[in-house]
């Protein structure tokens, strides 16, 4: 008899069926039939305001960005059909890396096919056998998977707990290599890390530091370089990891660094080598977008205004939020449980609002969250509309 390898998924299948048994819409099978702008789409047949896309700076429909992509399609074709180290590096990939170096003011930039692969590649390659990775327990899946792909010893510490991090660093055997992995903004609750203090402790204990700034690029820090810049410690970060799939508005990932030997990673980093490079149109849109983000001061200010208005408004309505004050463009609304969370998600969708339903195991402390991510293109009026939708849905579901 053949054992069914799928029986390990039975619990997940049952949970999903029980959620759908109520006749509701499936939170994980939403289809956007038409995308009207960075903030509006037709979802499951309804005109919907998008409040869960990470499209922070609204660059997806920027005319210059779109034109750059069209030109690249015309001039370089639909895809590279090759690895960056063989036939997959075009002029556009180099230009994209130049744009990143300028954006961050750093010596080296390496573009990956996704942000996930950037973490996977850099972490698994930089920290090898006998080295130690010390990381925040709430790290993104791509960071954990980077740890799992490599051979280093993996030592997590309690979220944003400077003491817990320091204790673990001090217990690492003398002579072992150390990599501390942190994030600027943690995407589940939208809270930021005390990078200034944490990086000082990491450096005092001889560790190299990697910071994932996926959720801060473009609007946190004077030049939009992220939380490390905002806290004045970007120079002490050895590796910044980022993505094109949020503020930049397309897809891809990167690492920037001042390490003098950084370029060797192009030869030894397997998730960089053994995959096809990004299509020419994607790197062209990314490069154009990154250069425009360097001058996005006004959009940035409006995004922060949106974040403050939504946070304050939801708090006033009586919702429980992930942070006391808005720390990023993510506002997490804490749901009492998965059932109520799914009901609230559906009620909002019917109102014409899309947010992310986030649930364990992706969430800290087994919370169910409705995660809202704001866009610089949300108008002040849209934010008021959103608050009205939350009020009606919250009362209908019995959360407020």
């Amino acid at each position: 008899m053949t054992g069914d390898l799928f029986s390990k998924f039975d619990d997940i299948i049952a949970l999903r069926q029980s959620l759908l048994a109520g006749g509701g819409e499936d939170p994980f099978s939403l289809v956007m039939e038409k995308v009207l702008s960075p903030t509006r789409a037709i979802c499951n047949g309804r005109d919907t305001i998008l409040l869960g896309t990470y499209n922070y700076m609204g660059m997806t429909f920027d005319p210059d960005v779109i034109q750059a992509g069209k030109d690249a399609l015309d001039n370089y074709g639909a895809g590279t059909t090759g690895s960056r180290v063989l036939n997959g590096t075009y002029q556009g990939h180099k230009e994209c890396e130049e744009a990143l170096k300028e954006f961050y003011g750093m010596d080296h930039a390496m573009v990956f096919s996704t942000g996930y692969q950037a973490n996977l590649g850099i972490i698994s390659t930089v920290a090898g056998k006998g080295d130690y990775i010390v990381l925040d327990i709430d790290s993104h899946a791509s960071i954990w998977d980077g740890c799992a792909l490599g051979n280093a010893e993996v030592v997590p510490f309690k979220h944003n707990d400077i003491d817990a991090m320091e204790k673990r660093l001090k217990r690492i055997p003398e002579g072992a290599g150390k990599l501390v992995v942190l994030e600027g903004v943690y995407s589940m609750l939208g809270d930021i890390a005390p990078l200034k203090e944490m990086i000082a402790v990491a450096k005092a204990n001889g560790a190299m530091v990697l910071v994932d700034e996926a959720h801060s690029m473009g609007f946190i820090g004077e030049h939009g370089r992220g939380v490390a810049e905002a806290q004045g410690v970007l120079e002490d970060v050895d590796f910044v990891i980022g993505t094109f799939s949020k503020s930049v508005g397309t897809v891809g990932g990167f690492c920037v660094s001042n390490h003098p030997k950084f370029e060797v990673l192009r030869l030894v980093c397997r998730p960089y080598v053994f995959t096809a490079s990004l299509p020419p149109s994607v790197v062209a849109t990314a490069a154009t977008s990154i250069r425009k983000l360097m001058h996005g001061g006004e959009k940035r200010a409006h995004l922060w205004e949106n974040s403050r208005t939504l946070h304050g408004g939801l708090k006033q309505l009586g919702f429980q939020l992930g942070t006391d004050a808005p720390q990023s463009a993510i506002i997490a609304v804490i749901m009492p449980d998965l059932q109520k969370g799914a009901a609230m998600w559906e009620a909002l969708l019917k109102e014409g609002l899309y947010v992310n339903l986030a649930r364990p195991p992706a969430t800290p402390a087994n919370m169910t969250l409705l995660r809202c991510s704001l866009c610089a293109e949300h108008s002040a009026e849209q934010v008021q509309t959103i608050l009205g939708m939350f009020e009606r849905a919250g009362k209908a579901v019995g959360i407020i």
């Binding site: 130690y132 010893e153 030592v155 997590p156 204790k167 673990r168 087994n366």
Partner: protein, 80 residues
């Protein structure tokens, strides 16, 4: 530190996490018998690490399924 002393100290650390008050023997498993979820494991491991001033990396945790294995691992790690 001998094994008996390590065992006694770990037993007292487990108490607040042993919500069902299950009996604990060397063969008692954390995931099965004590129903520890990943969050409980994290807090419990942190408590042990602080008590003995050691690191139990995720790689080492993967090898530890029951109480007896934990006591052995802590003995070994605190001897270094």
């Amino acid at each position: 530190m001998d094994r008996a002393e390590v065992e006694t100290r770990i037993r007292s650390l487990i108490a607040p996490f042993n919500k069902k008050g299950a009996d604990i023997a060397d063969a008692t498993t954390f995931a099965g018998d004590l129903e520890f979820d990943s969050l409980t494991v994290m807090d419990f491991v942190a408590a042990i690490e602080d008590e003995f001033d050691i690191i139990i990396s995720m790689n080492q945790q993967a090898e530890i399924e029951n109480f007896g294995q934990l006591v052995d691992a802590v003995c070994k790690l605190s001897d270094k």
